[in-house]
Subunit: 208 residues, 2 copies
Amino acid sequence: MLRSRPRKPVRKQPRRYHHGDLPRAMLQEAVQTIQTHGTEALTLRGVGERLGVSRTALYRHFADKQALLAAVATEGFRSLRVALFEAWDTGGRGREGFDAMGIAYVRFAVAHPAHYRVMFGGVVRPADGSQEAGDLGTDAFQVLVDAIVEQQQRGLVRGDDPRQLALYIWSVVHGVAMLALDGMLPPPTQADALVKFANERLRTGIAP
Amino acid sequence: MLRSRPRKPVRKQPRRYHHGDLPRAMLQEAVQTIQTHGTEALTLRGVGERLGVSRTALYRHFADKQALLAAVATEGFRSLRVALFEAWDTGGRGREGFDAMGIAYVRFAVAHPAHYRVMFGGVVRPADGSQEAGDLGTDAFQVLVDAIVEQQQRGLVRGDDPRQLALYIWSVVHGVAMLALDGMLPPPTQADALVKFANERLRTGIAP
DNA sequence: ATTCTTGTGTTGACAGTGTCAACATGAATG
DNA sequence: CATTCATGTTGACACTGTCAACACAAGAAT
């Protein structure tokens, strides 16, 4: 299968035998490769080469390629959680902030499509596979639950089970993000517009 | 990367040089392999071997592996469209039928997780990549749009742009399906239950 | 009927991949 | 200083997708 080529190996200076913090560097390199060249361009040999290290050095820090991908997913959930909370918090922790959360979610996915796919693409299961990824996934999820509870206390959202509500809303934004990534949103209806529409319908429903 | 082994090659009788309908057989074999052993277990050599045909015979009918996957995606959209329409139609083409559509959608994804991922996993873009897959994707989408228009005429759904509404609702079920496939729905909250909940909130909104 | 053409299937080969076993290195510990 | 052990390297292997060159068969053209 033909794949696009990542950038050439760059080693600033002849590395010492022991690289300072290889795990961190490898994760970072993997994230960048995925972001700029897609997941299929991520090859263990390439990562090693670009870090000026041999092809199997990675195995001293990650069990296998899946483990590396799991770490990438973890990193993604961390960033997503930060982005969500920031949108909610700076948006005023009210209706406006909640809408901002939805927009931030979809924007994250659209800005880092390949990375987002690793998080949810089934290569690594956020729920059971990597324990850490699962925790961070639920961490990001928790931000949403908290926001819902806070809105419920202010009488902005009905008093259903907040976790159920959160799952529902997560489904909406996740669905919009996926459709956007798959290019199923026709040009006139951009992702942002759909999120805006979704936010309105989310509150008042689709019944007349 | 280690992968689970598909079943052994089975050739009933010494095949003729010209296999009757190889494209169809290969597509079918690919779908079955993906369904029972996952997408990563799909190998061109394996497909050929299991059909009692050489490893590169596939190239006379598909441009490359991606093309085969595109065909798999197409087949999936066809099935999905049928399932959706049947649920809508036998459900009485009303509120009940609409809810049934949502359940049918998620059930399809849960019943054929790997196949569903091929349809939306980004390996093949339903929108532009394979023209045929795109058409079928929008065909399935059209079923939803039609159902919405019909409900609007009966006063069951507000008179927004039906395509926008359809995109929104598609996002919801697609999101639920994806979360279910990723195992992010905790045991107490099964996929069906979430769809049921989603159907209610979809109509009346989350505001108090 | 015989030849030709063209669609279909085969074999050989190649570059690239993830992964393991065996070995090399060097920093920390006694 | 000697040892230990985490860390990095080299060699090898099985497996993959893909291409080029070849073999075969069925229908068209003669």
